[in-house]
Amino acid sequence: MAKRIIKRKTPSGRITILIKKAKGDYMKCSICKKPLRGIVRDHPRNLRKYPKSQKRVSRIFGGYLCHKCLERVLKESIRKEVLKDLSVNTL
């Protein structure tokens, strides 16, 4: 929900209604779904006001994959390429 309603008692005893906006969720790694570090947490409607450096880290796939998943993906793809290369050369 974008907004939620909170009831608060004022000092005079009256009950008022507060309308609060949703806060937005953490950015998550698209593979392991864990929250990404170093990236600002806010609702998507507010992300426009932050500089680019606060919305991603300076790594390939920074702001999309976490460092552990990136390392695993890199190693897997490198080893696959190496094996393909070696088999072509030996045949």
Partner: protein
């Protein structure tokens, strides 16, 4: 021995992840000095993924020697690195042209700079 002087590796951690580098010197069992398409620096061998290519360089070779040897073995070097080290000399550009064709400048610029872009392909 897998980690040796002249071994081509790909960095897997940090800002330079996905970029090619060459082992230039060995400090101890954990650390080496690397150069190539990255900043010349000390690096833990846990951050490196070795490739089946060994270049013919001496221990402690200079950046220029390393880059020449990389281009001879058809390993891409980014435009960023060449400009950073003032290596856009006629010798290196002609080497690049001989190994990667006339549109070498586009290929070199496509590699971007650390943290921006990197390709995982081993051969061009």
């Amino acid at each position: 021995m897998v980690i040796e002087v002249g071994r081509v590796c790909i960095k897997t951690r940090g800002r330079e992840a996905g970029r090619r580098c060459v082992v230039v010197d060995i400090i101890d069992e954990n650390f080496v000095i690397i150069d190539g398409d990255v900043k010349r620096r000390r690096c833990n061998i846990k951050h490196l993924e070795p490739l089946p290519i060994v270049l013919n360089i001496k221990a402690g070779a200079s950046t220029e020697e390393v880059i020449k040897e990389m281009l001879k073995n058809k390993i891409l070097v980014s435009y960023w690195k060449l400009r950073k080290e003032n290596l856009l000399t006629q010798e290196i550009t002609s080497l690049y042209k001989a190994n990667f064709g006339d549109n070498w400048e586009e290929i070199a610029k496509e590699l971007g700079y650390p943290g921006k872009k990197a390709s995982i392909k081993i051969k061009a």
